[in-house]
Symmetry: C2
Subunit: 180 residues, 2 copies
DNA sequence: TATTGTTATACTCTATAACTATA
DNA sequence: TATAGTTATAGAGTATAACAATA
């Protein structure tokens, strides 16, 4: 409150620059989502990032470390530390790929799979809270449209992460990526 | 390409955890937007952040530094450096508020206002490119829904940034915030 | 006493480069 | 030669704490 009695009004860039605020809007949403989800995952090693790795590692075809780095858009040099901590916590283990002994497949332990199952409900609840302030139709439109936009952006650089089977279903593209 | 001939497939967390991928989706979109816009603004001091400050400073009621920090969700201690560089580049200036001499209003110079006008077109073009991969209806749905969601999240903590006049119009809320 | 702005410092996260082992 | 993984180091960005000026 200033001495002139006015609120310290900070104008949005939106006013003069239609479109230039999308980054602000996305930042708000991503920050809100991140805070809500992190609060539910802060006790596992590296929080959300550890959870994401756990989620990918739980798949039938476990990822390599460079595969994880590309999928999460992080540098490969951060993964040894993170995965060490997950290994020490007994949540995942490194398995040398018998077909190429340079690669280590990251797979969940039983404890890791159990933790993943427990927390995914909490994550969904946290997300529902974040989106709970808008009508269901808006929420659904947001989830659908953002998924399509993300797919469109991501598929511009498919070499980064060849797995788009699930999101691909959104646009009707076939999910078979084995030949790419 | 592995020796087994398969692509190094990295499964999406989406497969098993419906909803848990929203952070991934938003990250892709925000990253794409950020990269495209930053490429157009990299020659101004502090890139996108400098542009955002310039955009807010161009308003009739110029922001204080703490107001800027709250609006951009950054710590107030980063602003002196950024604003110093904008001042040295001749784009903004600090004006002591006559009503409260502790505050400095950040206002654009003529050169700053000129640069802002030039670049906002480039920013819009960059954004149009990012969203150019989806049909117009999806793009519009995305812009509308994300704006509403951001408003809903942001209005949970109105003390952080009392200015919501423009986004408020999206939901039909009246834009008068002078009494909050 | 509270708040704006500032500075110095420390911390976190990330990127760069170099190394090994496998292919 | 090229790639997966690792390690050490350097850098960018950010936060913490203390201070001066003003209310």
């Amino acid at each position: 409150m200033t001495s002139s009695g006015e609120v310290d009004r900070v104008a949005l860039p939106t006013d003069d620059i239609p479109g230039a605020d999308l980054g602000w809007v996305l930042g708000i949403v991503l920050r809100g989502w991140h805070e809500a989800v992190d609060a539910v995952l802060e006790d596992l090693p590296h929080g959300l990032r550890g959870f994401q790795i756990l989620a990918v590692a739980a798949h039938e075809n476990p990822p390599t470390q460079t595969g994880l780095a590309r999928h999460l858009h992080i540098d490969k040099t951060v993964l040894p530390y993170v995965i060490d901590d997950l290994v020490n916590a007994g949540l995942v283990e490194r398995r040398v790929d018998p077909n190429d002994r340079r690669m280590r497949r990251i797979v969940t332990t039983d404890a890791g799979a159990r933790l993943l199952r427990q927390r995914k409900d909490a994550v969904e609840r946290a997300q529902a809270d974040v989106l709970g302030g808008v009508p269901d139709a808006v929420r659904d439109a947001f989830l659908d449209a953002s998924g399509r936009v993300a797919l469109s952006i991501h598929s511009t650089k498919p070499y980064l992460d060849p797995c788009l089977a699930v999101l691909g279903a959104l646009t009707g593209a076939e999910g078979d990526l084995s030949k790419r």
